[in-house]
């Protein structure tokens, strides 16, 4: 972590009821995971808009996680299913513009899955370290 520039910055949109609660539980269980992720709480992943994700990339974030309830367990019935479709669409867009779909991933987990949350962060951090910093980083910010 010595060099600030080399560590990936990951933005995680977490739904209030499940993914955010799972992240809290990871804390209660004192699980350890890389500190690269910044969680942004949303009422439901169904609220995460394509533009939010794209804007984050545009401004130089290296990766984005969208984490919602288990399929069938959405507190707003089907928000997470819609989010998944939207994430798939955005992943295609990322491919098209050359950033690559791997920088965005949707996960489903229950609020009791603290260990799973830690695992997701580890997984994504590893992946983004492998992919290297987003090419949009510098210009995106200093414009």
């Amino acid at each position: 972590m010595g060099n600030n520039g080399s560590e990936p910055v990951i933005l995680a949109f977490c739904c209030h009821y499940c993914a955010y609660a799972a992240a809290d539980l990871a804390g209660s269980l004192r699980l350890s995971y890389p500190p690269n992720v910044r969680v942004l709480r949303v009422p439901c992943t169904g609220k995460v808009e394509v533009t939010h994700v794209l804007r984050a990339f545009e401004w130089g974030v290296d990766g984005v996680i969208v984490a919602g309830c288990l399929e069938g367990g959405c507190h707003f019935l089907e928000g997470n299913l819609r989010a998944r479709k939207r994430v798939e669409r955005t992943r295609q867009l990322l491919d098209e513009i050359g950033l690559g779909r791997e920088r965005l991933e949707m996960f489903n987990l229950s609020s009791a899955e603290g260990p799973r949350f830690a695992e997701i962060v580890r997984e994504m951090t590893e992946r983004l370290r492998r992919l290297g910093p987003s090419p949009l980083r510098c210009e995106g910010v200093l414009q």
Partner: protein, 1559 residues
Amino acid sequence: MASSGNNRNAKQSPGNGGSSPVGAVLVCGGGIAGIQASLDLSAAGFRVHLAESAPNIGGAMSKLDKTFPTGDCATCILSPKLVQCTRDINIDLHTLTEIEAIKGEAGRFTVTLRRRPRFVNEKECNGCGDCIRACPVELTGLLDCRIGRHKAIDRPLAQAVPNVVTIEKQQRPPCQMACPLGQNAQGYIAPIRAGKYREAIELIRETNPFPSICGYVCHHPCEAACERGRYDDPIAIRALKRFAVEKAAEIGWTPAPIEVERRPERVAIIGAGPAGLAAANRLAREGYGVTVFEAAEVLGGMLRLGIPEFRLPRHIIDAEIEAIRALGVEIRTGMKLGENITIEGLLSEGYRAVFIATGAYMGNRMGIEGENLAGVHVGLDFIRRANLGERVSVGKRVAVIGGGNAAVDVARVAKRLGAGEVTILYRRTRHEMPADPLEVADAMYEGARVRFLTQPVRIVASNGRATGVECVRMRLSDEKDLSGRRRPVPIEGSEHVLPFDTVLIAIGQTPDTKFAEHGSVRVSKWSTIEVDPETMQTSRPGVFAGGDVVVGAGTLVEAIAAGQRAAATMLRYLAGESLPEPNLTSGVAGPRRPQWSEQDRLRFERMLADGGVAPAPRATLTELGYDEKLAQREAARCLNCGLCAECMECVRACKRNAVAHNQPEERFDVEVGAIILAPGYDAFDAKIKGEFGFGHYLNVITGLQFERMLSASGPTLGALRRPSDAAKPRRIAFIQCVGSRDTTCDNDYCSAVCCMASTKQAILVKEHEPATDVTIFYIDLRAFGKDFDRYCDRARKLGVRYVRAIPSRLMQMPDTRDSRLAYIDEKTMKRVEEEFGLVVLSSGLEPSARLLEQAARLGIRLNEWAFAATDRLAPVRTSVAGIFVAGAFEEPKDIPDSVVQASGAAAEAMALLARARGSLLRTKVYPPQRDVKGEPPRVGVFVCHCGSNIAAVVDVEKIVERLSAMPHVAYAEHTLYACADDSQAHLREMIAEHRLNCVVVASCTPRTHEPIFRDTLREAGLNPCLLEMANIRDQCSWVHADNRDGANRKAADLVRMAVARAAQLSPLQEDSIAVRPGALVVGGGLAGLTAALSLAEQSFSVNVVEKSDRLGGTLNDIHSQLEGGDIPAFLRDLIARVENQPLIKVHRQTTVAKVTGFVGNFTSELKRNGGAGCQPVDVPEGGAGCQPVGSPERIEHGVLIVATGATEHKPTSFGYGKSPRVVTQLELDGRLARGELDLPEEPTIAMIQCVEQRCAERPYCSRVCCAAAVKNALALRLRYPKSRIAVFYRDMRTYGFREKYYKQAREAGVLFIRYEEDRPPQVAIGEGGSVRLETFDPTIQRRMELDADLLALSVPMSPRADREELSTLLRVPLNADGFFLEAHMKLRPVDFASEGIFLCGTAHAPKFINETIAQAKAATARAASVLSRKRMPVGGQISWVDPDKCVGCMTCYSICPYMAPRVGADNKAEVQPAICMGCGICAAECPAMAIQLRHYTNEQVLASVEELLNVRAEERAAVAGEDSGEGVAPIRWTRRAVRSASQEAGEREAAATLPGAKK
């Protein structure tokens, strides 16, 4: 059972007329049922006292991983409700609380509640868990359903609600109880195990001034009492104490210097032995001047004179005495009482009190011939001289007479002084020998011999010198002596002489009390001083005595204890207080029996200095102390019998001083109008079914344990692990009905949930580890609930094997620890043996003993299984008016049934207390909200240390320091605990002082704390939504403790992201809309009528719509039920009550034509059906309905309840309709009731179950038919005693207590013959309607034929034909089977997803009469949450459509799960605030981007993201600047500044003028 519900109704009316009932309800039980009842009651305007006996709420459900049949995560769906319960100001949550006593009657009860201590201050504990990590006591069991380990201070789950820890402390451990000093051995062993030696020694020293000496020579009664000794060896407590002392010295620990205020009074202590010095220590510490007078020239008394140096090094004695002298104690040697000092003299010299502790130094003699011969010595003198370094000679052959420690010491000293042969003569056996067995062993190891059962009778001499001892052999008689040991008696003629040249007599000692000859203090005939045993005061006031001089000869700890006790009363004497010290030790029960397995056996180890046979030199210790590794190993053997060791580690760890080890039990009264019992159940103790080896075999666990193992937050974090070796089990077996349907353990009922619970767990296993082989052994698969059969099908598809057999027993394989099961294979009728790596016992539900006590206090009647007795026609009422019951305490049931009952019980309480609704409701008054419109953002940031929870990892000060440079930050500070009361007050002050208009709190999770801080903002006059939280604890410091650098950067980012977002926040206004009173109930059957009546009893007006001209629905066709009761009379009464109820208006021959509006504001149009051809029966499938006549009636109502029922399906198979002898069960019931059966006296009757159901076309179970078949079979049997009755079934699903009747039917001779799904019985209808039935019986693998006089078919319940019409009309969904689909199958079983519309009865799913009644009442409780208000809040975090951008595509309308958007003016969409749930799906999907979710607008979301990237840019700029040596202009500030100046102001302006915005 036979008494009907309506009789009791009269009794339910509150009070005796005049006095108004109390508008509060006591709910007992904080499981899902209790929670639901509490929330319903609070929402409907009642105060609730929620008493839970456990430390945390959530009950059994909170321990589950997933729920069936939806696979929902139990935590996900339950947690929000739990949190809601703790936040609701009208719910007073009392944890650890049970009912103690009850007075009064329905409407006005006074209930005394008893709260057990938590030993933690609930208000102060913030669940940080510091104490849990500090606690050295690891326990197995109790929590986490007895797998995994937890601490003595802990919480049952990481996500416990309330998130507060509890100390498990019930009893003092036996070691502490056995110690005369009350040394808390478990308390110091626990820190030794954890390597915390400083803490260990501090705890030891609290009660023991001579820890080091005791560590060497204490006779350790604690070890004799040690629970571990029952299993292998007791813990080597003394050795551990010695280790702790040595280790403390090694690490340089010294006692903290004490500050005492010197007092002028002086005290004299006579004797510098352990008793005297212990007293001196205690008195000196209180500031008294103490002088110790010692007769000898050396100090320590018996310690130095009686104990040889190889057992107790002299420097140890010196050091501990020196520590006492250092307290200012004056010690004068050579002062012998009765010679150079006297008691009177001391008193006249000004000593205010005297303590005599002169010990017992005169060695006893035996009184036998030859004791005065040369060569015969008293052992005590011998050892004293040796200890004083005098020249002592011994002969070649030494006899030591005695069996105590002194005798052994004498023998060992003699050996060291050069005796050739040493023999101890003892008159009993080794077993009775009072000496420490280890000392005896050491003596023998060194070459001493012991002759047991040998009694010296004479010392023989030659030339005046002893030459031998004449002895007699003894035997132990059966008679016991005073000490409780068997009395030794001489064997006649066994006299013999043993040759010795030295005889040492060590048979005890006596005090020398010659000083008291002049009567200064009274002395007993044994020469001991007489004292009051309570106060230790002698006959002379102010003179006390203790130790050996009082008891004759005692042990070291007894002497120390006596000294301390005497000092305690002397302190009272000196202070002029009355003497007997109040007894502080509380009543103590026996020790906790720990879970013990043979595999835990571990012997203790000793460290001996010498490997050889020869005794070590005089001063060389024979026993070495433990090294660290051995000590920790030994300490880890402690079973922690006292649970909490009271080592006070938690007290030191808790920065909020929340731990309160002395918290008392409390009793308090509550005034309530009604009581709801929802205490849940206990799991059956699987140990009772010994054949399955639970408790002995590690790889046999219960279903609940397995559930915890599957849980991601459980002890294995969701990994499948065998307890024996933590390996992944490859084969898992579930055994059903353990403790259910079993007369051998008196549980002959069905526990109703286990089949599905095991199926669920099997599915989870298959999902976790698909390769695992899973087998479920069962009797009948009881998948009777909604969608349960589908769930089992899913399990089968995943490869779960269902075997219809219950293994008779289980054997553990010694090598693999697999379990071998034997069972009879159904197909081959052969015995099969299989081995499984893990066996899960699906143990049943039963009421707990604790619960039964409570029930007894309440006086409620219990049924034959000790569950709460209820009537099937009044399913939530107990035998006591005003006390209701819900959940598994009424009958084993699953979550949705419990929730339904809970709401049903709440509805009963609401009806009982209708007049008092709202009378005790708490409301909070807030100051008016400040208008912040147009103000530039002024953000206040409060960063919390959370003690050291955050601050230990994150540099909180630095974050605050840097924040001040951020734009909009008007104020920033850090605070120790942001959530503490004083911090909240400070927060309010700062808001005012700095005119803050938005607040950021950087602390823990908003999931628990946002409501608290929002409330603080409201109290400070700010809109609560102007708060943003940064979660730098749960999601930062707690997970990145290993990476401080990363944690600091992350925390800084999170806080800045929160600030950026906070600057964008705008107030959210809630509006309210008027609620239209009254309900519309669709359907006039049992459910509809019950609901209507329940609503009317709660004083709401009701319109009931019934499409036929007859009320009662299907219940008109039902005449009896399994448990008895006159159903037609019940229905007549119900209808009469509905018709006489002025608040109910019944519309017969009417249907609902149109419904508009939303929750609280519905308008419906009713149309009367008419015309001559209209039949008051169901419209056949696809057929034309009745034509409505007349103009529609318009009704306004606040809620709508769907209770349209179901109908009996008319089959086409099995000859139905082709022969009059083939009937349905309902038809049979009618014929039986009307006496229309025409059968021969010895009829053959057949019944076929699952007719045209549980098949491809209708893949559901109708739940009631098995019971109906049993009911009709029993009735037929009664009517035709000679009948032959055969029931052909697939699975008998007589769940719960209905199992009893299934058993009765079998006992009555009804044959139950199983058929397989693919080989159903074949029915041939012959001439004249004769019925011939042919079937294959798989249990005997035979075909059989039967000519039946009557064939009854168990046909399914079908949903009503007009269901789809109603579904479309109300926009509520149906499931695949055509039943209405509730909002959530588990927790919202009577709600529709659309607010304000509810559901009950068989329109929801097939169910029994009692279930229908409970559900109908439940629907009314839910409805009451709307109807009990005059206005409903709407708005807040909801979506808003910008009409300028909306193109009217209505995408939002089609995707909203709640149908909140509608077509508004100009064909643009508009969101109805009362319906919108605020998920924001529409905002994300709107193609025109015309929709914004308030509080999550694009600007608000993106502000955080942008800030995050700004930080990175800043950092890079800084790095670049350093590299190039030039600074980089903070571009972003400029950009932000521009933006905030123009754009933000504009946005706020715009927001304020938006059409939907509330001012």
